[in-house]
């Protein structure tokens, strides 16, 4: 059998611990899995894929999106869907989609020039946040606390991107959170676990050293997650929620279409890979029945 002929194509840029766990969980359920690296896509597209599902786990956002598009065009469903990957990979699109569909989200403006960054920051007041529309792990996310911060941000940016090709950027209201945020892992349409990420730093990404502790999934969290899956479709998401102390309510900060879980699973004890494998196995059984 061609090594790329399998029930599930596990598309990766590199095989992280998460993808090893996902592959093992699927194989333990009797599912044929083939790992697909970007160079394999040519053969898949030329030959037509016999696979029934593409599990998109590329750490490169661009590769994830282009791979999902290709697979869908040769008749292979993907998890997550191309449209969901597109929205999750672009914080500007997320802000737009959430705003237009009533999902609570920090107020955000897309800025397409240095002048528009100044205008948006001035409109929000101090502090406010500037972040790249694509990117992860807290990279490039900057808190503007005064005019000098804006000058420094623009100065650095101009030297690296004089032509302004990296615009737009997202300018966002700063949410005064209580020293932590929340990550809810959603599989299908179900929130399977919630964790609190605690840090002394205002950025509470686990990659930046935040501590993790498990919390119960509340009705409010579940409702927000349902709002997300109603918009993006069922899938595998890391939904980041932030508590706005002033409003006393949670907001959806962002949704990740390629959540990492290997390290946090060791803390909260929920087998995320098994949950995803169960969801995929059920989806395959459902498609067989039709």
């Amino acid at each position: 059998m061609n090594e790329l002929e399998a029930d599930v194509l596990l598309s990766v840029t590199v095989l992280r611990p998460e993808e090893k766990l996902l592959g093992a969980a699927l194989r333990a359920r009797g599912v044929d899995v083939a790992t697909v690296l970007p160079p394999d896509l040519g053969a898949i597209v030329r030959g037509g894929a016999a696979a029934r599902l593409g599990l998109i786990r590329n750490v490169s956002h661009q590769q994830a999106l282009s791979t999902a598009r290709l697979l869908e065009h040769v008749g292979v469903q993907t998890l997550n869907r191309t449209s969901a990957i597109e929205v999750c990979g672009d914080k500007g699109l997320q802000a737009l989609v959430f705003s237009r569909n009533g999902v609570p989200h920090p107020e955000s403006h897309l800025a397409f020039s240095f002048a528009q960054v100044r205008e948006a920051v001035a409109a929000f007041g101090w502090p406010s946040v500037v972040k790249p529309v694509s990117g992860s792990w807290g990279r490039g996310v900057t808190r503007m606390v005064n005019e000098e911060c804006v000058d420094a941000w623009i100065g650095g940016r101009e030297s690296a991107d004089a032509a302004g090709k990296l615009f737009p950027v997202l300018v966002q209201e700063y949410v005064d959170k209580p020293g932590h945020d929340l990550r809810v892992v959603v599989v299908g349409a179900e929130p399977v676990v919630a964790i609190r990420r605690v840090s002394d730093h205002w950025r509470t990404n686990t990659t930046l050293g935040a501590d993790v502790e498990r919390v119960e999934v509340t009705a409010e969290m579940a409702k927000l997650c349902r709002g997300v899956t109603d918009l993006l479709g069922e899938g595998f998401y890391g939904v980041d929620l932030v508590e706005d102390r002033a409003a006393g309510a949670l907001k959806v900060l962002e949704v990740n279409a390629n959540p990492e879980f290997a390290k946090s699973s060791a803390v909260h004890g929920v087998d995320i890979a098994a949950a995803v494998a169960d969801h995929v196995t059920a989806a395959l059984a459902l498609s067989s029945a039709h």
Binding site: G135, G238, A257, P259
Partner: protein
């Protein structure tokens, strides 16, 4: 640049890798001699092929 043997060498310093049957395609393995990261481009019973690991890109993330 790649090697196509069952006994791969480091693509930077030529030190031999000890092939591990548990390696999976796509996994990152490190040269024990110079520390260069390699990606397992193919891994079958008959063939282990290594390539230099991709560098972290701007758009990498969750």
């Amino acid at each position: 640049m790649s090697t196509q043997t069952t006994s791969a060498d480091c693509l930077v310093c030529d030190a031999p890798f000890t092939i591990d049957a548990e390696w999976e395609k796509g996994e990152i393995v490190e040269c024990g001699s110079c520390g260069q990261e390699h990606e397992v481009a193919e891994q079958t019973a008959a063939l282990t092929r290594l390539e230099l690991a991709p560098e972290v890109e701007e758009d990498w993330g969750e």
